[in-house]
């Protein structure tokens, strides 16, 4: 049962959760990133995600491995969407189970931070007045340095 996947289809949170349920687990922490309509007053019509799929899956697995080293009793599942997403659709779903809640919370937070650092997936904002590929959200700057919209794409 694959616990990491990239898909053009709508993501089922339950599917993610079911992959980490096990008798040893008492806690599951999930993180869900959804398409937000307004960012600092600017309206997003829809988002578009592109992925370097085989490498992205490998990097998701790597994040799972890192979490397994940091918090040995956890089990992780991550799904990321590609293609066009309307407002409130799920872009990413992370589920982490553990015997007790502290590890699950820390690990799911760690997972989303690492996704924003190392997984080759890109978001394109489609606004009322234009489009832009968003880059480098961790530092809240665009990789197109001279773009006036450079700060729009910050942490989701």
């Amino acid at each position: 049962m694959e616990r990491y996947w990239i898909t053009p289809q709508p993501i089922s949170i339950d599917e993610c959760i079911n992959k980490v349920v096990r008798p040893e687990a008492g806690a599951i922490s999930t993180f869900i990133g959804i398409a937000r309509e307004f960012t600092r007053g600017k309206r997003t019509l829809y988002l578009e995600y592109e992925a370097y799929i085989p490498m992205a899956v490998k990097q998701l697995e790597r994040i799972g491995d890192e979490i397994g080293t940091k918090w040995p009793d956890t089990l992780v599942s991550i799904a990321h969407r590609t293609g066009r997403l309307n407002i409130s659709e799920v872009a990413v779903a992370i589920a982490v189970s553990s015997p007790h809640r502290d590890q699950a919370f820390k690990a799911s937070r760690y997972a989303i931070e690492r996704i924003k650092e190392i997984v080759p997936i890109w978001k394109k904002e489609h606004w009322e007045d234009g489009t832009k590929w968003i880059g480098d959200q961790k530092e809240t700057i665009s990789y197109v340095e001279n773009n006036k919209s450079a700060k729009e794409g910050q942490s989701d």
Binding site: E50, M55, K58, K116, V119, W122, W133, I134, G135, D136
Partner: protein
Amino acid sequence: MIKVLLFAELQERAGKSEVMVEADSISVQELKEKYLLKYDMADLLAQAMLAVNEEYSEEDTVLKSGDTVAFIPPVSGG
């Protein structure tokens, strides 16, 4: 042949997602200088990370025929 993959804004700038380069035993840096200048995306390439055969790699990595090099603009998943 070395396969070059382009994503996101790099892909839009180049007008293609893939470039095939007839070369062997060439560093990534040399490949950029010799084969990719014509796509007018040096500014974007300078900010991109790169992966060889789906693993993050460095500019001085020497590519062999059959390798795939991908230029990874700053990521924005999640």
